[in-house]
Amino acid sequence: MTPIIEFDGVSKWYGNVIGLNKLTLHVPAGVTGLLGPNGAGKSTLLQLATGQLRPSQGTVRVLGQDVWDNPALNRLIGLCPEQDAFYEWMTGHDFVRTCARLSGLGRRDASEAADRAMDRVGMTEHMNRAIRGYSKGMRQRTKLAQALVHGPRVLFLDEPLTGTDPVARRDLIEAVRGLGAAGCSVLVSSHVLHEVQALTPRIVLLHRGRLVAEGHVREIRDLIDKHPHRIVLVCDKYRDLAARLAACPDVNGIKFLDRESGLLVETRQPDDFYARLPALALADGVALREVYSEDDNLEAVFKYLVNK
């Protein structure tokens, strides 16, 4: 698949501080999550991709075009920035319409596009109020609306869920998923792992300006062979089961979880383990109440990758 966003050997430094360090990344179409702790380089990456910054080294291309000093390309790009900044004296509709006009839409087209964009983010009811009276959720939605109003093909969302309440968060996640389904390519940055997990399984992980991992969460996890999988088994006769498991060669460690009445098993061959588990349980008449893995989520992936 032809990448939508391409970073080739990109470095960006501010004086002595390196923001991005020899980053090579190709983001395909669809929704992609950009993950990393504070200081990882996420905002730097987004600012490079939207042409606000110029790379110190390497090239940045979006839709096959160089980004820096390419205003024509901005017609196809939308950015929902992180900062909570508006022309506070404007109404929401006025602000989005102005952004549409700045993107080159005519007066009538801009007004209609603003109506559509505000409707899409669920702000029709409040769009004629001054932005200074908006709640945090409304402000985030308005920011998203201005990013969408000119119908971009690539959308960059920088921490779009920051400070929002659960209802607004749900609505924004739905909106982003809808955009992805409609054919818009979206790159969403966040340091909140479960938020990205709700949006997309495809992630790019940054840490200290470097690319740490890229791809599907599950694929990445499978590739981390340094860390064994951790599987929790909850049952009554967990000590008997433990005795059985201790004899298995692919089990690397067993820990008793007395409070949950279960076991934490570490294994480097999870597939084999899962295949053997029913037989083991039946042999001793052990009734397994719960079986789950702690690793099949982004947080675990992130912890392993960053802390290795």
């Binding site: 205003p71 992180e82 700045l102």
Partner: protein, 283 residues
């Protein structure tokens, strides 16, 4: 749709003028909403009120003295350059401080055009303000006097033209200063005091580097001043010999040329500069 299917990036002709017009209107709205304009309006009203009061005293101040003190001294030396500094130095820096510059940079407007449009809008606002002040002052000083309609009004119109030319120079200069340094306020005030205030009053070649020099020359040449007023201006400004002063055309070209050159340099600078938005906890 993949990148290879994307249509070539060609922008319709209607895009750019429409976007620039929207940017112009946005900038004018930014400058005219809020308390800033009200405060400036009150500040400009003060000399008008003063003129009215002084005209109606038992020993009224002569109109020409008021004209010299308020229109030829206070306005070009103080109010006009401070107005230009307030607005023009913040053309970009206000957007950076408010963190709204991002919304402009990611639009399909070339950076140099973005800067020039904002500067032009700023120039229009400051010129309108100062022009209104000049007109108001002339009305406050000369209303009801003989010759108001056939002598004073045309003079007021020409004074407005001179003031507008001065604003071209000031706005271009302070716009550039606003890009160059975060301490544009200090630099601007120091410039107004030291260069326009002191250097312009020294009778040597260096004063040709000041905006006020050309404003004064145009005042002497264009405004068709009464003899006593002319003499007073020439004496105080050290411009006794009109023949040694540049012609009106040279003054206009110098001010406009300076404005154009500095604005172009500023636009180029802006196009090449990165603006990194820092937010708490950001990368």
């Amino acid at each position: 749709m993949t990148a290879t299917d994307a249509p070539p990036l060609r922008r319709p002709l209607s895009d750019m003028p429409s976007a620039l017009a929207a940017l112009f209107v946005l900038t004018v709205r930014q400058h005219t909403h809020g308390r800033r304009l009200l405060v400036l309006g009150a500040l400009y009203l003060l000399p008008c009120v003063l003129a009215l009061v002084l005209r109606n005293l038992p020993k009224p101040a002569p109109a020409e003295a008021l004209e010299f003190a308020l229109i030829f001294s206070l306005l070009p030396h103080g109010l006009a350059p401070l107005t230009a500094l307030l607005y023009a130095a913040g053309v970009v820096s206000d957007e950076v401080e408010d963190q709204t510059l991002t919304y402009l940079l990611v639009r399909s407007v070339p950076r140099w055009a973005l800067y020039l449009t904002k500067l032009l809008a700023t120039l229009c606002v400051t010129t309108a303000l100062v022009a209104a002040a000049v007109a108001g002052l002339y009305a406050a000083i000369y209303a009801g006097t003989p010759g108001f309609w056939d002598e004073v009004l045309p003079r007021a119109g020409r004074a407005v033209a001179v003031t507008a030319l001065a604003q071209v120079g000031y706005c271009a200069l302070f716009g550039f200063l606003g890009l160059l340094t975060r301490r544009s306020l200090i630099a601007g005030v120091a410039y107004i005091v030291a260069v326009e205030g002191v250097l312009a009053n020294l009778d040597f070649v260096g004063r040709a580097l000041t905006v006020v020099y050309y404003v004064r020359t145009l005042t002497l040449r264009w405004l068709d001043l009464p003899p006593e007023q002319m003499r007073r201006c020439q004496e105080v400004w050290g411009m006794a010999d009109l023949e040694k002063l540049p012609s009106s055309g040279v003054c206009v070209l110098t001010l406009l040329g300076f404005g154009v050159v500095v604005s172009a340099l500023s636009a180029l600078w802006f196009a090449r500069t990165e603006f990194r938005v820092k937010t708490p906890g950001s990368d």
